[in-house]
Symmetry: C2
Subunit: 199 residues, 2 copies
């Protein structure tokens, strides 16, 4: 005794998503059946179709967009002297929400991870090198995450770009707001101490 075929397919589709195990996938599938009306199914299918067809990485920076070149790259008021390098499109959205950064972005589309088969070729590194041929960019800010892979990726980029005449910086890492030193992990504490400033 198992779920009917189509329902099983839906459960297995949900199980593909990160962090979704069988129980959660079952919950999502049963929720779909109990709460979706005809127009909801129709809307979900249309959305999937639109995402498939419309959403592409920005031809310049790699940020997801539905317009070829993303609104940030097209905005003449952005400070083109700075390029902030992030792992994912989501990072761009989060940083934009802070309204503290007015430069451009470059989305790598991941981090170097040899064990997962992600080498430099899999990331948007060549397009970055192309962009840096333009003299108007003066500073490249590396904002990969504080993880083994994020660190490796930042180090890789730093070495790769050492002969290019551009200022390379890295964002600060340390204790986050609301973080409790007693519960902080070793790497964060290490970075917090390393980055200490004279008062």
């Amino acid at each position: 005794m198992d779920y009917p075929d189509a329902l099983n397919n839906l459960i297995e589709t949900f199980m593909r998503y990160p962090g979704v195990g069988r129980k959660t996938a079952e919950r999502y599938a049963l929720y779909t059946i109990s709460s979706f009306k005809d127009e909801d199914y129709e809307a979900f299918r249309t959305t999937l179709e639109r995402v498939e067809n419309e959403i592409k990485p920005c031809e310049t920076c790699g940020h997801l967009t539905d317009r070829g070149i993303c609104p940030i790259c097209r905005d003449p008021s952005r400070d083109a002297s700075k390029i902030l390098v992030v792992e994912e499109s989501r990072d761009v959205i989060v940083i934009e929400k802070t309204r503290t950064y007015d430069g451009l972005y470059h989305v790598l589309g991941g981090v170097l991870s040899p064990s997962n088969g992600v080498g430099p070729e899999e990331l948007s590194i060549k397009p970055l090198l192309e962009r840096l041929k333009n003299d108007e960019h003066k500073e490249l800010i590396l904002a990969t995450n504080l993880s083994d892979e994020g660190e490796t990726t930042a180090l890789y980029l730093q070495r790769l770009l050492k002969d290019i005449d551009i200022l390379i910086t890295r964002i600060a890492y340390g204790m986050p707001a609301g973080g409790n030193i007693g519960y902080a992990d070793e790497i964060t504490l290490n970075k917090a101490l390393e980055g200490r400033k004279k008062l």
Copy 2:
């Protein structure tokens, strides 16, 4: 600055699901874009269409099926003298996996919850009363969850059926396997004590 339109729609679709907040929905949507190939989008849409068109509650017991009458109700080897009343289709699947129950089921499709607008009319209670007109059913086993709403629903059914000539029982509630009495909640402990047996 926000996600492109179609991507936002996908995020909002995922946010409809129970326990899915904005961050998780964003993760799912970005995962879709980064890992789905054309055939995956197509398969997802087809699955949604099939679920919409094929999956319906069993005409007899309410368990989700793609065949009008579910395989359990159609199975002549099942013991028709017992009907086990559960909240959801998922409960049927879980109980079937134990292979300890050989009777029939009745899926209510939820629990009484006046604050959420769920009254007796919203549950599969009338079809249950119809089924009980058949003399071959001798025992009705109430297996709603041990929650305020599950208890209320069981009590409601018990009262509703008090004049019908059928044995009404309730499954046992108490400490689960692996449960730690020191961390158990009050209701479970209460049920465990109430249901104690002479050794």
